[in-house]
């Protein structure tokens, strides 16, 4: 049986299992989910999936999947709620709970949206209206479970910390988060996703930013070699809104992160900073897309990857600047550190520019540790191994320093800072 046939068979079984759990026929459930009508299992023949081997995902047994989670090791002080801060963790039923297990106390400025206002995919469809949803979002959509849907209001920033901890094999989690930021609202969102067993997590975030709203998102996602992360996020930006996303990923057997951002009328700011540390046989893939649908939009993007062992990092940065998006100011940089002969980096800028009055730059670098830097450290008595670690950490620092305390406080990140991280966290 070919890989494609096997994958299709695996998908059919998975859809049946998920449909039984939702109480709906598989076809009906899939059809309800906009974009999931045309299931097309990605193969290396698809340009966007050339380098992404999904076997880590399909090694899961659909019949044994469950949603059990573990208690995240919250850093001291982060799990406590306050008038401006709320911490939530995913329980075994797909509900977001406060760390002590009780129903969350919502701080001022944060309010759950009524269920009737939370149609799955409602923001995603406005962000990628004519395209098929990515695989992670499709699988998320057919997985039953309640969304976390919140409205954010007020100029005083609200802090929302979300944590998912997976420690049992065959866990399958597909959390869905919908955020509606009213004009001028400010939200600091931090994620900590961890998997220490052969499992899969498929988070999907939809965010609608009103005029002048600000969303600061920091995401830490680490897994073990058998774990899969398929993340997708859809951000719809109104004029003068600001979206900053900083994410750090390591350890997964497979990670595919797909942020889609649309500046609906331009005149907004998007800042994307990512760090992927691929060691062992880890495959870390980031496919980002930013659409400019109006003039004077701004993008600052830097993706950094470090690949060692047989690690493989993939980056595809798509930026779409149609004629209407005059005076767009976009820059994209992909910086990569290749540390072994068997590691691999694939990086591709994909700038689709039609407007003629724009400033769009891109660049990609792939290098190894610099001999002069190593020698300089060695000439000060620092051993080569330690010098190498210092330089690797220095490489990561540009992204790490952008993380807020709520992200830096996690002990997992502290372990990453002691690079090299173990394959089995």
């Amino acid at each position: 049986m070919s890989n494609a046939t096997q994958s299709q068979s695996w998908l059919d079984t998975l859809l049946q299992v998920l449909a039984q759990r939702s109480g709906q026929p598989a076809g009906q459930r899939a059809a309800q989910w906009a974009g999931a009508r045309d299931w097309c299992w990605p193969t290396p023949r698809n340009e966007a999936w050339r380098f992404t081997d999904l076997r880590c995902l399909t090694q899961l047994d659909p019949a044994r999947l469950h949603t059990r989670t573990a208690a995240p090791p919250w850093p001291h002080g982060l799990s406590q709620g306050s008038s401006r801060h709320v911490a939530l963790q995913l329980d075994g039923h797909g509900h977001w709970r406060a760390p002590q297990g009780e129903t969350p106390f919502w701080p001022h400025g944060l309010m759950p949206l009524p269920t009737e206002e939370t149609t799955p995919g409602q923001v995603a469809r406005t962000v990628i209206s004519s395209e098929t949803l990515p695989l992670g979002a499709q699988l998320n959509g057919v997985t039953p479970g309640p969304p976390l849907a919140l409205q954010v209001s007020g100029a005083d920033p609200v802090h929302l910390a979300l944590a998912i901890q997976m420690e049992q094999a065959q866990a399958w989690l597909a959390p869905r988060v919908l955020l509606v930021l009213q004009p001028g609202a400010r939200l600091c969102l931090s994620w900590h996703v961890a998997a220490t067993a052969q499992a899969a997590v498929l988070p999907m975030v939809e965010a609608r930013l009103g005029t002048g709203a600000q969303l600061e998102e920091a995401a830490i996602a680490w897994g073990c070699p058998g774990a899969t992360f398929l993340g997708s996020s859809f951000v719809h930006q109104s004029p003068r809104s600001v979206y900053r996303r900083t994410n750090v990923t390591w350890g997964w057997g497979l990670s595919r992160d797909e942020p889609f951002i649309r500046q609906a009328q331009g005149q907004a700011e998007t800042h994307l900073h990512g760090l992927a540390v691929a060691r062992g046989r880890s495959l870390l893939d980031t496919h980002s897309t930013v659409f400019f649908d109006g003039p004077a939009g701004q993008l600052r993007q830097c993706h950094q990857a470090l690949a060692d062992g047989r690690g493989h990092s993939v980056f595809n940065g798509r930026v779409v600047v149609p004629r209407v998006a005059q005076q767009t100011d976009a820059s994209q940089l992909s910086r990569n550190l290749l540390l072994s002969t068997r590691a691999r980096i694939d990086t591709k800028p994909q700038l689709e520019i039609v407007a003629d009055d724009v400033q769009c730059t891109h660049g990609a670098t792939v290098s190894c540790l610099q001999d002069d830097e190593l020698f300089y450290l060695q000439s000060r008595g620092i051993g080569r191994e330690q010098a190498s670690r210092l330089l690797q950490r220095g490489f990561c620092e540009d992204v790490l320093q952008r993380l807020p305390w709520a992200a830096l406080a996690w002990s997992s990140l502290q372990r990453l800072l002691e690079i090299p991280v173990p394959d089995q966290p």
Binding site: F375, Q378, R384, G394
Partner: protein
Amino acid sequence: MPACEPSPVQTGDVLLSIENLHAHVEGNEILRGVSLRIRAGEIHALMGRNGSGKSTLSKVIAGHPAYTVTAGAIHYRGQDLLALSPEDRARAGVFLGFQYPVEIPGVSNLEFLRVSCNARRQHRGQEELDTFAFEDHVRDTMAIVQMNPAFLERSVNEGFSGGEKKRNEILQMALLEPLVAILDETDSGLDIDALRIVANGVKTLTLPTTATLLITHYQRLLDAITPDFVHVMAEGRILRTGDKDLAMALEQRGYDWIDGADTPQP
């Protein structure tokens, strides 16, 4: 290399002995028979045209992997220096002040200094300094080169001016307390005030039990730090050795008058 320091140095002990050293880089022979002996308490100046091999000599002593020694020997306190890794040479007390200090983005200067200082301390059998103790130590030491503590918070040499980089080099020298310091054009790129500060720093750190090899093009550094010996290099060899008057003669007459000379080594 074992983490221990040999017996204490006495003034006059031979610290560094270079014999008929030949070295090449990428197939080009740069050093063609350098011999030099440096004793504790001495200050040597090494001069010569660009490309004469001065910086190469300093890097070979420090163990730069790009250079291959094809003949000759270097002994440091009687030990085969060439058999040691660059880090072991530094831990043992050989210091190279770089002509062009390397910028290392993302690596905190403070952490870099602490790790390197502790590597040397560990070798000497001294207790390592924790972050708090080291910060006190480094702030006290910075006074030697009148360096702004704000530079501790920045990445190693990143965004430093030429003068600040050189001060940072001398700060590292002060923290590592080497027995042999080789300062490669430490005076280049310095204004008058910075030169005075750096020179004073070097003088402060020069002890009867240590030795210094100053690589320089200019008399102005030697006005501030009086050398015991001045060597002139050309085409990978030391052509002439004299005292401070040799440097003054070079300043007045240039290198042409010395070319072709063949004088005995000290």
